[in-house]
């Protein structure tokens, strides 16, 4: 098996590779950096879902709801939509509604966490498969509301979505504009890359710390055997709500960043297929194992994009039946069935003897 110690022990190598990636990709076109950006957003989603599914063992099939909440929250608070649709808001905010990065992140996290708790609450007593279906239902309910809340009052603008969303600004510089350093120019996609990379690094740190903590162990105990967990005094109800809430915050933040990055959100981006894909990322990567989850996210996010280049000729060969989107769905679904049959603990599962990755705090036994 891969020597994780060597890979991550060589932190400087990894860090340099990540920092230099956009410049390596640039000659091939900004599109590739954009792929990296989206992959990072998906890594955030996978990390969040990993808390719910990987640590606490709750199969949430509606996780995209939190992505949507974060995205629409930012969309509503940083675009002309609300001021256009509601004159009274326009008078209150004569400059229009714009949010700074420092306000977005905690707000998106907080609102998403709230949704996490509210949507998680009805599922607390359900067994695994029912939990899955109910959370799927919630994801769909959110999508239906997003699609239809343009009447009687136009909150979400229905299927048309919300456009002209502000870019995120860091120290006054909107990331949608390239940064002119004099000796070189950094394109917008690269600026976003570094922002997202920072968010991912912070998230990985947070997840790692949660994993190796009293709460993390409690979540895992619930995953392993809820009855025994209760018998050992764990308040499983509160712990599950905590998992839902904590997991949702990642979705919310990722969603807000997505809205800023794209400049546009619509209900189409928040379908069941997205939820399933995020579940696939976590499960196929390695449930509960951070490196595996990240690998799963990167593979499933970047692969379809990479496929576009292969799909062209295939599409011609099959008379238009196999395009990139279909190919991606085909491969993801086959992967789901295949991995469960042949490598059920994922592509990169936790190492057998329970020796954790080099612990940051060094409180390994």
């Amino acid at each position: 098996m891969l020597n994780t110690h060597a890979l991550f022990g060589n932190r400087w190598l990894l860090a340099s590779a990540l920092l230099l990636l956009p410049f390596v990709l640039q000659p091939f076109g900004n599109a590739w950096i954009r792929i990296a950006d989206m992959s990072l957003l998906y890594v955030l989603l996978a990390l969040g879902l990993n808390i719910v599914v990987g640590y606490a063992g709750l199969l949430d099939l509606g996780y995209v709801a939190f992505f949507a909440v974060g995205a629409y929250l930012f969309g509503l608070l940083a675009s002309p939509h609300l001021t256009d649709a509601f004159p009274w808001i326009a008078t209150l905010f004569s400059d229009g509604l714009h949010l700074s990065l420092w306000m977005v992140l905690p707000l998106a996290a907080g609102v998403a966490a709230l949704f996490g708790i509210v949507l998680g609450a009805p599922t607390l007593k359900l067994r695994g498969d029912y939990l899955a279906i109910v959370t799927l239902g919630f994801g769909e309910i959110i999508r239906v509301f997003l699609n239809n809340l343009d009447q009687p009052v136009n909150i979400t603008n229905g299927p048309k979505g919300i456009g002209s969303i502000d870019a995120v600004s860091v120290f006054g510089h909107p990331l949608s504009k390239r940064l002119d350093l004099g000796f070189m120019e950094i394109p917008s996609v690269t600026l976003y890359y570094y922002l997202f990379l920072l968010l991912v690094v912070v998230s990985v740190l947070v997840c790692h710390r949660l994993e190796n903590s009293r709460i993390g162990r409690a979540w895992m105990a619930i995953r392993e055997d809820e009855i025994a967990a209760k018998a050992m005094g764990l308040n499983t109800r509160n712990l599950k709500l905590m998992a839902f809430g904590m997991g949702a915050t990642f979705g919310g933040i990722s969603g807000a960043m997505f809205a800023a990055f794209q400049g546009f959100v619509s209900p189409e981006s928040f379908s069941l297929m997205e939820s399933v894909m995020i579940v696939a990322m976590v499960v196929l990567g390695g449930l509960g194992h951070l490196p595996g989850v990240i690998l799963g996210a990167v593979l499933l996010a970047a692969l379809p994009e990479a496929l576009r280049y292969v799909a062209g000729p295939l599409q011609e060969m099959t008379g238009g039946r196999l395009d990139a989107a279909i190919l991606r769905q085909l491969l993801i679904s086959l992967a789901m069935v295949g991995v469960m049959l042949w490598r059920p603990s994922g592509l990169w599962p936790k190492p057998e003897h329970g020796k954790r990755l080099q612990s940051v705090e060094g409180h390994d036994a």
Binding site: A132, I141, V144, L287, L330, V337, M340, P344
Partner: protein, 309 residues
């Protein structure tokens, strides 16, 4: 009042289709504790197969009456769907019978998407009109109307339920199925082969789903690769509503859900003062599911799940 009668008729028709699909879910869950996420896709494959078959049969036998063609297509499509379901169970679900709970769920979801994608490739993603093979003049019942297609659906459902009932109660296979559903270990000790019973369950479920699929296509006039998803989900809700594992419950749950959806979406606009229109009718099923699982998780008629202790 006349509107209500129409809604009731529509609701029963819709409910019949839900009932047929719900039976498939409930039988599988009762025996192997698996939500077969891909079951809705069996409906879709059955419907698309029948569409293809009709497009072949009609020009081949131009003199045959429409209902005969429809029947032939149903039978052949059922065969195809049954074989498909048999293979799926054998390859994808059987190896995972003793795996931890997450694995079969993931596989089932993957299988569902796989089938949809294959359908997209084989039949192309566009909405296709389903040929009208039955006369379309509606028959008046009081102030409401019912079409021959809807009558066919109701009639065929009754027949299918009667046949299933006979199968489950009066045949050796049926006894074996009931025994396995109650206590698999005991049943196998008595000489019942669980693999055979489980395969039979999948085959029967596929036949019922195909019937429902053809009915659905006839009733709504179109077929496409995504047509199985929502009905599948709703039928599962119906199965839980009635009591998972309980065959009678699946039928009752299906009919009730159809009625709730039909009557509810009709009156939803009035009830909410125009705030929510019938677009929201899709989430009824989910709301019912959440209510049932919160308030009465064993369903209306009680669940019957295998004693796996």
């Amino acid at each position: 009042m006349d509107v209500l009668l129409q809604q009731v008729i529509n609701g029963l028709v819709l409910g019949s289709m839900y009932a047929l699909v719900a039976l498939g879910y409930t039988m599988v869950y009762g025996i192997i504790n698996l939500i077969n996420f891909a079951h809705g896709e069996v409906l879709m494959i059955g419907a698309l197969c029948s569409w293809s078959l009709i497009n072949i049969l009609q020009p081949a036998f131009p003199d045959l009456p429409g209902w005969v063609i429809l029947l032939m297509a149903m039978v052949l499509a059922s065969l195809a769907a049954a074989s498909l379901n048999f293979v799926i169970e054998k390859i994808a679900y059987r190896p995972l019978r003793n795996a931890p709970k997450l694995a079969p769920l993931i596989t089932a979801i993957g299988m569902s998407i796989f089938l949809q994608t294959i359908a997209m490739i084989v039949w192309k993603p566009n909405y296709k009109p389903f040929p009208t093979l039955l006369p379309s003049t509606p028959i008046a019942i009081g102030e409401a109307v019912i079409t021959p297609t809807q009558l066919m659906i109701l009639g065929l459902t009754v027949v299918a339920l009667a046949v299933l009932s006979w199968l489950v109660n009066a045949t050796r296979l049926g006894r074996a199925m009931r025994a396995t559903a109650e206590n698999p270990r005991m049943a196998s000790l008595m000489g019942v082969k669980p693999d055979v019973v489980i395969s039979a369950t999948f085959i029967i479920g596929a036949v019922l789903a195909t019937l429902a699929g053809v009915m659905w296509a006839s009733n709504y006039g179109t077929v496409h690769h995504a047509m199985g998803f929502l009905p599948g989900l709703k039928a599962f809700t119906a199965a839980v509503f009635g009591g998972i594992g309980n065959l009678g419950g699946a039928v009752v749950g299906g009919l009730l859900l159809g009625l709730i959806e039909s009557i509810g979406s009709g009156y939803l606009g009035e009830l909410t003062g125009g705030v929510m229109g019938s677009h929201y009718s899709d989430i009824f099923a989910f709301l019912v599911l959440i209510l049932v699982l919160t308030l009465r998780p064993s369903g209306l008629m009680g669940e019957r799940v295998a004693d796996r202790a």
